[in-house]
């Protein structure tokens, strides 16, 4: 029972850590209508940014805001150079563009900054929080709390006027222009915000595994999170994250020793497939309105 409880808790917390990555995806999708498959690479880049700023000799807590500013700027640049020209293109083009960006970043960032894993020390420490026979990972716990806070902030953000405008942009670029919303700026802001979310994700994940290109592999669980929660739903990030984390921890926790292999990716894949078969728009996602 304690084992189950521990798996449950650590799964939920890990899931929230995934939510941090997924949040960037949703921010961009909900406000620009762009499915950003480069979010994993963005997290990696952000991790490198935090490390780089720390390498200048700055304290983590100063490094993180600086890195956030850098990544926000980077988001703006991505919009200016790439997405501005993709307005009105079919989804496959946009998907591929972000994948191209992901490949580019995965080459460029480690190519320039080095590919061996880099440390980020957040000073969280190793000692787990122990309740009874249940061990809770501190990094994940803090990550989970941060994730909750960020999701809450995002929820509030989309209630504001700017948020409404961003949602309008994701609906229809051309009519946004027609009523004077700067689609460019909206997309830029959304990428910038996703960049900030990526910094938080990059710092937390980087502190537990080191910063290297494998951070970009977080895209896969993040995709499962957004599919399950709904690609455009902020609360979906939370619920989806917890579910993906819990299922991806509890099931392997019982199955792996029998399967003789790690079943986590299988669970993640099945979550994606089943969600799409049963409820394509996820738990909270909006349906496409198609009028015949």
């Amino acid at each position: 029972m304690a084992y189950f409880l521990e798996l449950l808790i650590s799964g939920a917390l890990t899931g929230l850590m995934y939510s941090l990555v997924a949040l960037g995806f949703v921010l961009i999708y909900k406000s620009a209508g762009v499915p950003n498959l480069a979010q994993g690479a963005l997290v990696m880049t952000a991790g490198y940014a935090v490390w780089l700023v720390m390498a200048w000799g700055l304290n983590v807590w100063i490094a993180i805001p600086i890195a956030a500013a850098i990544m926000f700027g980077f988001g703006l640049v991505v919009e200016r150079l790439l997405l501005r020209r993709m307005v009105g293109q079919p989804v496959i083009m946009v998907v591929m563009l972000t994948l191209g960006l992901e490949i580019l970043l995965r080459g460029m960032v480690p190519g320039i900054l080095g590919s061996a894993p880099k440390p980020i020390d957040l000073g969280i420490g190793f000692a787990p929080i122990i309740i009874g026979d249940v061990f809770i990972n501190r990094t994940s716990l803090y990550g989970g709390i941060v994730a909750l806070a960020l999701v809450g902030a995002s929820l509030l953000f989309f209630r504001t006027r700017t948020g409404t405008k961003l949602r309008a942009v994701s609906d229809d670029h051309v009519s946004s222009w027609a009523v004077g919303i700067s689609v460019e700026r909206a997309i830029g802001i959304s990428w910038g915000l996703a960049g900030i979310a990526a910094v938080v994700a990059g710092a937390l994940w980087g502190s537990s595994q080191g910063v290297d290109w494998t951070l970009s592999a977080l895209l896969f669980p993040a995709v499962a999170v957004v599919i399950l929660g709904g690609v455009d739903s902020v609360p979906g990030v939370l619920v989806g994250g917890i579910l993906v984390g819990v299922l991806g921890t509890v099931i392997p926790g019982y199955l792996d020793s029998f399967a003789g292999g790690s079943t986590r990716d299988v669970v993640t894949s099945l979550i994606i497939l089943l969600t799409i078969m049963v409820r394509p728009f996820g738990i909270f996602g909006r349906e496409d309105i198609e009028r015949i």
Binding site: V87, G88, R161, T164, K165, R167, A168, S170, D171, D172, H173, V174, S175, S176, W177, A178, V179, G180, I181, S182, V183, E184, R286, I289, R291
Partner: protein, 262 residues
Amino acid sequence: MPALILENVEVIYDKVFLAIKGVSLEVGEGEMVALLGSNGAGKSTTLKSISGLLGPERGLVTRGEIRFGDRSILNMGAPERVAGGLVHVLEGRRIFGHLTPDENLVAAYRGRSIARFNELREQVYAYFPRLKERIKSKAGYLSGGEQQMLAIGRALMTEPKLIMLDEPSLGLSPLLVQEIFGIIGTINAEQGMSVLLVEQNAAATLDIVSRAYLIEQGQVVMSGAAEVLKSNPDVQDFYLGGAEHTDYRNVKHYRRRKRWLA
């Protein structure tokens, strides 16, 4: 003083397809002008060239000049033009389907003052009381007419000096067409807003506008006061349906050529 002036505007799509060639027109301040023409004549293209929305369709103004007020707007982006007081109600409504009608209005308001926003919103709901009834449902599920109202209301939220409407009566019931035309007239009269109206429904249009341009195959072929155009035999033949009642069952199979297509 004319609010909007187009001089010799030429638009090319996709680098190869010449959609309008040398269109010139004027809309005076507070004036209501119509742009008529058959399908594919280039009406929407003309409007898009004014509102700056050709980009996403790979269109480009390759020649000519567009001025609004005393400024050339050719090099401005679309949002800038809206800020300058030009707004375009797109063909086919295109409201923000996933937002509620209210949010649609919020998204379109550009200023900062909440009081002004509330004022504008009340004005829109006063023009279109039906919208107020559907305030909670997603705009994508509104009926065609309600969506058209929302599109116009949304445009009004930008506090325009000139509003361009692309086929506002498309697919609307006769009653709604009357209603919408009435409201357009009211807005023009009450607020002194200039209106550039693209329409197929020539009969109703020529009744409310003061002047009209006739565009065919990308060129302006005729223009003048509404009254004059109405009495033109060609316009009667091709746009107004000749006499009052058209006997569709007996219309000629082959018609004479349009005179202006030499």
